[in-house]
Symmetry: C2
Subunit: 318 residues, 2 copies
Amino acid sequence: MTRVIEVAELERVLPTLELMAPIEAGFAAYSRGEAIVPPVGELSFEDPPGDVHIKYGAIRKGGTYLVKIASGFYQNPQRGLPVSNGLMIAFDSQTGAPRAVLLDQGLLTRTRTAIAGAIAAKHLAPRKIDCIGIIGTGTQAHLQLQYLAGVLKCRRAMVLSRSAERARRYAQDLAAHQFEVGIAADVEQLFAACQLVVTTTPARSPVVPAEVVRPGTHITAVGADTPQKQELATGVLGKADIVVADSIAQCRERGEISHALRDKSLRAEDVRELGAVIDGRTPGRTRDDQISVADLTGVVVQDIQIASAVLERIAQNR
Amino acid sequence: MTRVIEVAELERVLPTLELMAPIEAGFAAYSRGEAIVPPVGELSFEDPPGDVHIKYGAIRKGGTYLVKIASGFYQNPQRGLPVSNGLMIAFDSQTGAPRAVLLDQGLLTRTRTAIAGAIAAKHLAPRKIDCIGIIGTGTQAHLQLQYLAGVLKCRRAMVLSRSAERARRYAQDLAAHQFEVGIAADVEQLFAACQLVVTTTPARSPVVPAEVVRPGTHITAVGADTPQKQELATGVLGKADIVVADSIAQCRERGEISHALRDKSLRAEDVRELGAVIDGRTPGRTRDDQISVADLTGVVVQDIQIASAVLERIAQNR
């Protein structure tokens, strides 16, 4: 019997779960080679424009394989719909039987992406953070800051948006989460004030030039998940002391690192993997004045771990 | 709202549908370049052994994209479970919203594969068929013969199996479908009696040597859907007058044609595509004494078409 789980049930269950540890464990297992993670499948539509990612895989000893379909259709807001949608399916890796369909409408993807941002900050941010910078005002801009509250004491933030109205609304929204959010006039001002910056836009040309990034900064880039998207000038990665990919294999093909490798701002051997940093096999930040960049393209081990945690809790509740 | 459709409802609806025409139309659209069909995604497990295929795509003007997960876990029968399982999900290609989850347990895949066999026979078999040969006794061995009844008058068949017991049971089962089924002692006898042979095994080394195949024979090979599997000696394709792939792109990577291309028994330019034959842009069989081979690896356009037909009927019924 395949269990079908609606988003309302997921919304009830998620706040009851501690998800940092299982997702860290997922990254670590992946970096130890204990996961099967084939290349991301992709479908693109032009009219209206939409990207669909199909991520699938398994943690070898886990007993489950997962297929996740996540879409972004950029004109949805004109129809009163959110940009992102999707679902996950968990299968029994002994028999192929579908155990559960999680009709999460992208909720689990948004959540595990925000948690990955918190994990990156935990392992890579400098010790003293006066202000957190957020570029973009969409769902990830909201969630990243909310989940950072779990790993950082700092409650001061600064947002950068092309729209003054959206920036104002964002500052208001996050005030409800105990954040005091200022509005940056430009990217220079943001980087002058912030030691941790999260970029969350679907930009196709860089919004962060190399010049603005100062020693003692950590940047987490979560927006670029296709080969076309790019938020950071390749020079940012070129000048960084530490560049971390959630998946080196995946970041070769898509995201910030792919651009920097292509124009040789970055050498492949200088890219570290998040799971190895989590495991302590690869050093993360060793000095406060280093520049670090985490490029998060989203790895199916995150989906496997969040779905497994949710399904376990739902089974307990019944 | 995502509709979830259980296998029982699919079993009720399927017999009410005429599916040859929409699936032919799907192949034709694909061969005209009107479909988006990325490479097949794959997951393999070793303990217990299982293959998972993830097929996804869209017909450009269709309004739907489909993701299908189909698995084969070969030790399932020891647990009292069928080898194959899976499900399909139909999404709105304007918004990414999942319209329906079809919990078909592989039923739609099995059905569209059998229908593709009937389509291949319709376009490629010689006019006069005295006896239909079936190699293998599994689900496809059953379904292929049943669906051939829709396009051929012949009701005589011969089955070849490594197990006398399974062959006997197969003959019994198909008697219920008005087929008179003899049991072949060996592959020579089968090909001496039959002008149309369907191979349906998961063999990893050829079960049909080139010598046994006579002029005036059509072979449909449906078993080999991974790069490792192979039912026909490459010499069979080498001596054939007509070699047809359901998808040339896919057959380069997997199935009978991939083996024959690799050992140069076959030249890439001599492979025709089923949809182009259906459309009449490429000739099929032109003489009764030709040897023809159809290599069916399964294309997501078949899944799109069968799922769309089923969903349309279910919407009408409600």
